[in-house]
């Protein structure tokens, strides 16, 4: 195999550098934009629980009574949620504590709804990419926090 040219031409290099700088600028703009008003954003997260539609709130956790559900939920929480909400759901820089009354008194259906839909405008992504059962397992873990 003959290698002719791995390195880009000068014009391409310039374009590449400019694209990289633009990418970096966008990235930094959002880093700073997301830095402010953390506590306010946290309150807005809790407010999302209150806005869950009645039908969704009424849904029951199909894994109620499943002895493994909370343990599996903890594992999933550590993998997907702990980075923002803290290892023990105590809250972090980007996500609010889940030990507060707003969360602990929330209906399982409401937790499931927020988990599935996220609070996208406030920075919490939707987790519908996880299968429904795994989202219910996370809800089981959240419910187990007040035990």
């Amino acid at each position: 195999m003959k290698i002719d040219s791995v390195l880009p031409q000068p014009r391409v290099k310039v374009t590449l550098v400019m694209a990289s700088l633009l990418f970096l600028a966008v990235l930094l703009a959002f880093v700073h934009a997301e830095d402010f008003g953390v506590s306010k954003i946290h309150r807005l997260h809790y407010a999302a629980l209150a806005k869950v539609p009645v039908k969704a709130r009424a849904r029951r956790n199909p894994l109620e009574g499943d002895p493994d559900a909370a343990a599996a939920g903890r594992k999933l929480f550590e993998r997907h949620c702990a980075e923002c909400h803290g290892h023990d759901a105590e809250g972090g820089k980007r996500g609010p504590s889940l030990h507060v009354a707003d969360v602990q008194k929330a209906a399982p259906g409401a937790l499931f709804f927020v988990l599935s839909n996220g609070v996208v405008r406030r920075g919490m992504p939707d987790w519908s990419k996880l299968p429904e059962q795994q989202r219910w397992q996370i809800v089981s873990f959240l419910e187990s926090l007040h035990d």
Binding site: V12, A19, A71, K129
Partner: protein, 324 residues
Amino acid sequence: MQAATRLSFHKGKCLVNSENVLPHGGPCSRAKFGAPARAAARFLLVVGLWVLPARAQESPYFVTYDHHLEEPGDLEVEYFSNFGTQRGGNDFVAPWIEFEYGATAWWTTEVYIDSQTTFRDSTVFTGFRWENRFRPLQQEHFINPVIYIEYGNITEADKTMKEVEGHDVESDYAVPNAVANRQWNHELELKLILSKDFKGWNVAVNPFVAKNLGNPWEFAYALGVNRPLTLKASPRRCNFCRENFIAGAEMYGGLGDTRLMGLPDTSHYLAPVMAWNLPSGWTLRLSSGFGLNGNSHRILVRWGVSREFSGFGETVGRLFGGRR
């Protein structure tokens, strides 16, 4: 009152109050090594990114997109490769690197750097692409749309085949690199990503149009379906749990252009796909595709490895003096 002594390091010499030259070492070592030390600290911080916590639940698609965007502040670094057989020419392998960043929960931006090696020919850099995905609806709906906009500055020699569009056919890829890599294209691509999760399945449809400036609009499609091997997670920590594997298939191809729309002179592919999401944050993907008509490459094998870095945005922000 004695003025404060100021140490500085200029053109390889250690200065006191900008005048006296001291031998290296002693109190001047701080000035001498201050800047390099800071640079080293920054470098270590960058290296430290590799130990950032990671999370991953990546889809197995290579060509199709679903509606799930990158988590905000997270960076996913991905290496992919596309091996293709070539009738009337030499087989090739086309690696590319992706940097995918979750700017917000509704906007993901991504930069690609493409290259390719054609066996018995050469290895060439084939350009870059910059894509953005926007999610207009803030909640899950029956069908979830995402708007995709991409600009690419790539050569005719690009063989990553991230998209097969218009009248792309196998013979287009038989041109020697020395000729094909001279032709640079400015390409704009618009996609409508439609995707739905249902009972553990994801179904995604991506109709799209692409315009190489100066050429007519080209049409194409990508379809995908996937599902984890099991829907419930096991309580134990494991690499080989079935929940870590997602399997599916994708189909993609061209649909002509504004001059001749439809299936004539187009190529199409069907590819089983598989992803293995490791708890450590790494994801491995494999796809073994094959052409569906005489204009298609007989075999396209794609593989990839990626890792997601949580909190990348905050780390970079601190590196550049951002708020803690």
